[in-house]
Amino acid sequence: MKILVCISHVPDTTSKINFTDGDTKFDTNGVQFVINPNDEFGLTRAMWFKEKQGATVDVVNVGGAETEPTLRKALAIGADAAIRVDNTPTDGYQVAKELAKVVQDGNYDLIIAGRESIDYNGGMVPGMLAQLIKANFVNNCIGLEVEGDTATAIREIDGGKETLKAKLPLVIGGQKGIVEESDLKIPNMRGIMQARKKPLNVVQPSESDITTKVVKFEKPEPKGAVKLVDPENLDELIDLLHNEAKVI
């Protein structure tokens, strides 16, 4: 089985978010970038398929040269090869189109992406990719097994979960649960050394259409101070929630 794991290069979850150029660009100053957490769960699941079922695992990112350390980290975790599509995308559709080309060129059976990236939270790339390559698709995936050419996936739904079966090729939008947090792989020194020698192929982008563009960013209004209620006077809290906030 040939697996492709799509990796987003995103600001670390602790990052403070700021913008520059008249609030039109994300300010990367002082921001640490990491593998998108939803993708990291998927990458670890792919490693399991590699170890237990002899799959090969490639990773791909659509981005500029600055994203290569993130791909190298994925290689250090155990991926066999990395691909970087040399494009700085402005739109999820553009990313999906570039990924579709990589999947078709590489003939992958299983494509694992995160259900969404933690920066733009669009959650559109895996579904669009699946549709572009006419593959099956399961979103919000919290469990995945593959036997022969058939996958059994568990998907989180509002208020529960459902089990689905689909033939490969299959695109997965994965999240926490597809592996446990405690099973996430951390690169060790041997992995880091090996990663330096593994192939990281840079491919040229194709011409793709834009369907949306970000015009500007805005931060939420600063919040007023918290109203503290004496723990001995909880009636006041109930009164505030009922009469002021009108939420109970």
């Binding site: 978010i17 099956n136 926490k176 970000v214 805005e218 723990p231």
Partner: protein, 322 residues
Amino acid sequence: MSVLTYIESEEGKFKKASYELASYAQEVADMLGTSVTAITFNANDTSELGKYGVDKVLKVSSEKLSKFNAEAYADAIKQAAEKEGSKVLVISQSANGKYLAPLLAVQLKAGYAPNVVALPESTEPFTVKRAAFTNKAFNFTEITTEVKIIGLSKNSFGLKEHPSTATEEDFTPQLSDEDFSVNVESVDKAKDKVTIADAEIVVSGGRGLKGPENWGMIEEMADILGAATACSKPVSDMGWRPHSEHVGQTGKPVASNLYIAIGISGAIQHLAGINAAKTKVVINNDPEAPFFKAADYGVVGDAFEVVPRLNEKLREFKEKNA
């Protein structure tokens, strides 16, 4: 060229979020000078949709579509959009809405803006405000394609009544075997339990509760308030509560009217997940906990003393105001 909205139902019935979606679609239609068509799958009585501005309901009744299936539903909605000549589609950000919207976007060659939190800023160019960076910021996105898909965030718009008479029309989409190539084998859904996605109120516990055996008082409060229960990341990582309750940047986002955080210090990743909640209450014995900066109301005190007393008072309040 009406605005098309996919209205979800469960066991034939609509939820409040469906009416929010209809309300929003109506105002977008108003901006564009057109009407609203809703598409429903196996819904029973659709007359209530008219109250929120829906002019026409395309009713799909099909045993094959009794379980949600993203590909088949997307195909049906696409055919409805083509039939109605719809240039704008409004879809909820439920788990199912997020599953099918990207499929529809490719099929209809439409630009898709998810997590939209307000009416379009303008219709020419078509620009919408959407949440990004897990609610740490917003971005204004211009959709440049002829057909546009808006994914509306829950609780971001509210209900607006706009009485009209919704006419009903049976609609039978042409579906093929390929639409069912992802096969739903089984559905496992907790009955009678409020979900975080649907809840008006969410009661959430953190590490300060010291162990899963102490969750009784959280569940009790949720029970009194008709709320969903939730937890912070460390709590789900330690296995005290299921992953499906984990709220935060890598967990579930919360957009409820009230979020009560008990024994949660308020890590930046957790606060990102609850930014969209309208009113936030924190109960924590550490006055320096970062959550106090994000909350509207706070109680500095020991959860094990405060929560049982608060539960008692909430119960009295509920009985009086029933």
